[in-house]
Amino acid sequence: MRAVLLALAATFVLAVSALAEQASLARRYAPLLDSAADCIVRRAWVPSAEQPQGEVRLIARDGALVMQTALSSKVLRRVAAAISEKEERSWPEERDGFVDSQRYRETLSKAVEAVQQDSRAHPRPDRRQRLLIEFVAAGRSSLYAIYLPELSEGAEGLEITGRKLLFIEAASPLYVRGNLVEIAMDSFHLERAEAEQLISALAP
C-alpha cells in the first residue's frame, strides 16, 4: 500500500514537473511559435497530391525558419508510424542527433495518442485526425513543437484556423536543421545538395 502510494505520488510529481517544464518552454520560445506573420516559401502535399495525408510547408517566420507538417488523415497512427520509420532511417545511432531523434519519436507517439483520445471524445463526421508538427530553426534556439490544430482546405492547400500546443521540446540546432534538410528532400523531392542549399539560403 505504501509503495503504491509512493509510486502514485512520484507519478504525480513527474507529471506536474513535465507540465511545468512544457509551460516554461512555451513561454520562453513564444516568439518563435508566433505564426501571425508566417510567410510560406514552399509547400507540397504528402505523400502525394493524388493521395494526400497532409501538407508540408517551408515557412519564413520572424527570426526563424520553420518546416511545418500539417497532417489531416483517417489513418494518423500509420502516418505517424511512417514518419517515425523515416526518422529512424535518417538518424541512426552513429549519427549526431540520434538522441534528439529518439526523443522526438517518443514525443510524436504521445502526441498521436493525445489526438486519438481527443478524436474518441469528439468524433468528426469525416473521421480525419489532425496533427501539426513544427521544426523551428532559429540559430542557437532550435526546437520542435507539436499541436492539435484546426484545419480547413483552402484554395492552395490546408489552412490552419486554430491550434492547441501539445508538446514543445528544445533540440540541438544540428538535429533541427538536419531534419529541415531531410524533410525538404523527402517532401519536395530534392537531392541532398539542393535541399541544403534551400535551407542554408533561408535559415537565420
Binding site: 493521395q51 483517417k74 500509420r78 508510424a81
Partner: protein, 751 residues
Amino acid sequence: MYWLLTRGRFPYLASLLMVTGAMAYFAIGVSTERSNASMTAEDATMAADYAEFREHFGNDDVLLLAVTFPGPLENGLHLLAELTGKVEGMEGVARVMSLSNALQLVHGPAGAESRPLLPHPLPGADSGRRLAAALDANPDLTGLLVSADRRTAGLVIEIEDLPGDDLYRHELIGSLRQLAAETGGAELHLTGVSVQKNDVAHFVQRDQRVLIPLVLLAMALLLTLFYHRWSGVLLPLAVIAVSLTWTLGLFALTGHSLNTITSLLGPVVMVLSVSTSVHLYSGWQQQGSSLGLGLSALVEEVRPLFLPCLYTALTTALGLISLTVSDIPAVRQFGLFAAAGVMIAFAVSITLVPVGLSFLPAPVPPPSATGESRLGRLLQGTARLTVERPVTVLAVALALSLLAAGGLGRIRNNTDLVRFLKSDTPLHRDTLFIDQHLGGVNPVDFTLSRRDGRPLTTLEDQRRLAAFVAAAESHPEVARAFSIIPLLTSLHRAEFGLENLTLPESEQNLLYLFDLLEAAPEQELLRKLLSRDLTRTRISIGLHAVGTAEAARLLEALGRDAARTLGEGYQLVPTGGFYQVTRDSNRLVASLGKSFALSLALVLGAIGLLFRSLKLTLVALVPNLIPLIWSGGVMGYAGIDLSTGTAMIAAVVIGLAVDDTIHYLARYRRERHRAPAEAVHATTTGTGRALVISSVVLVLGFWTGCFGSFKPTVYFSLLTGLTMIGALINDLLVLPACLILTGRWLPKGAA
C-alpha cells in the same frame, strides 16, 4: 443471247477479265479479324454495362501463364523470378503477378505491413518450409498463383490497353510461347481471351490457305470423273474462280474481315457456284449438236434451263439471306455475302458457260441414263421403285423421320470456345491444363452496388457479399471467386494481429480498414476490385472450362443465390466476354427459329411463284423438310451441339435442298403430257444424272470443310453434306412417290 454468243464473246470475256482482275486485287487483301467483335451480338445494354465496368475497374484483359517445374516448386523459384522479370519487360505488358513478386499483409509494429510473400534471397536453406508457410497463411493465392498440389505456378499477366492496335497482342503471345524454349525443362501453358482471339485468327488464315485450294482440287477431280473432258472441268472451274474472286473482293471492298464464320464464305461460294454450270454443261452434252446448228442448239439448250437455274440460285440465295435476321454480325455478313456470291455465280454461269461452249465443237453425248452405265441402271431402278411402290417409299421415309425426330430432342444449345478447336491445338491443351491445375479459365465478372448508391462500407454490405461469394463457390462449375473479401480479412488479421481471417465485428473497425485501403500506395491494384468512391465492387467468378449450356444454367443459379444472399437492396450486373458469349448462345435458338422460318417462307414463295401451284408447292415441301429432320436426328444422336456454326445449317440447306426439287419438278412438268408413271420415269432418268452430279459435287465440296480448324465449321460442312445426300435421296425417291400418289391432282404442264 445470240449477240453474246457471236460478236459479243470477246468484249464479254475482256470485261469479265478486267472486273475479275480488279476484284482480285481486293480479294487478295482481305483481312482477318483479330478482335472477334463480330462474333457477338450487338446489345446496347451489355455494351453499356461493360463500359461502366471498365470505367471503374480498368482493363480486364489478362493472360494466364502456368509453369510446371520438374521438381518441387521451391527449386524453381529462381526460374519463376526470372520468367516474371522477362515477362514484365515485354512490350505490351502492364503488370505481372506471380509468387516471386506477390505481397502479403503481415502484422508489424504499426499494424498491417506489406511484405514480399517469398523470402529473399531465393531459395534459402529452408525455402520449402517458408514457401509452404506463406501459402498456408494466404490461401486465396491457391488456384491463382499456385496449384493446389503446389507443383505449378501461375503468372497473371495484365495486358496494356492500346485501342486500335491488335498487333502488339499477337507479338506478345508469340514472345510468351517462345519462353517455353528457355525454361530448362519446365512446362509452360498459356491461355486467356486474347490468346483465344489470336489463335482463332491464325486458324482462320490457315483455313483460307488450305480449304480454298482443296475445294478447287476436289471440284476439278469430280468434274474430271464425271465429264472426262477438259471443257467439263475448266468451264465450271472458271465460274468458281470468278464467283469466288468477286465475292471476296466485294467482302473486302465493303470493309469486312474474315472470322470463324465468314472464313467459310470462300469454300461455300465455291461449292454453291458450280451447280448452274453443271446443269448447263450436262444439258449441252445430252443435246448433242452439229457444227453450224450449234448456236441455235446452244440457245435452245440454255433457254429452258434459265428459269429453273435462276430459281435454284434464287432459293439458295434466299436461304442464305434469311441469316441476316441473326443478332450476330458475323452470321449476317456470311448470309449476305454468300447470297451475293450465289447470284454472282448464276449470272457468270448463265453467260460464261454458253460463251465458253460456243467455242467448242459439237459435244459427244454422255453415256445415256437410259443406257448401260451404272448410274443409268441405278436411276432406272430408282424410277421403277418409286413407280411400283410409292407407299412403301413414303412409309420408310416416314419411319426414318420418326426415328430421327427422337434425336432432335437431344440437341443441346452449347458454345464451347475452347473445344471449338481440335484437341491437339496449343490453346485447347493449355486451357484445359490450366483449368485443371489453376482453375477458372472462363471469368464472369459482376459489378455489385447498392441500389441507394451509398458506399459498400457497412458490415451488412460485406457480410452479404461474403455470403454470395460462398454460395457461388459452392457450385461445381465455379473454380473460385475473387472479391474484396480476402483483402479485407487479410488486412483485418494483419492490422490487429489476429490469428484467423475474419471480417471485423464492428462498423468502426471496418471503416478503418477502408481508410487504410484508401491510403495504401497500391491504388492501381485496389481499383481492380473497388471503385474509387467505394460504391461499386467487382466480383470475378472463374468458371471451369465449360460450355455456354452449363454456364447459362450456372448464371441462373447465381441469380437465385444473389436474390437469397444479397436481397433487394443490391444490384448485381454480370458482364464480360464470356457472359456475352453465353447470352448470345441462349439467343441462338430464337434467332435460329426466325431465320429458318424466314428461309422456309422465302423458298416456298419462290417455288410457288415458279410453278404457280399451291399443291405443287406443298408437295415440294415434303422432300425438303425430311432431310432436315434426318440431319437434326444425326446431330442429336451424335451429340453435336447447336452453336454459332451449326445453327446456320438449316437456313443454308433449305435453300440448297430445294434446288434438286425445282429441277426435278421443272422437268416433270415438261414430261407431264405423259401418264404420271411415265413422266416420273422420264424425269428421273433424264434429269437424274445432272442432279446426282451436282449433288455429289456439292456434298464432296462441302466435305472438304472437314479439314477446317474449327469444330463448328467441320460439323457445318459434314452435316450440310449429309443433308444434301438426304435431299438427293428424297428428290429421287420421296418426291416421285408423292407425285405418283398425287398425280391426278396436279395440273398438266406445257409440253
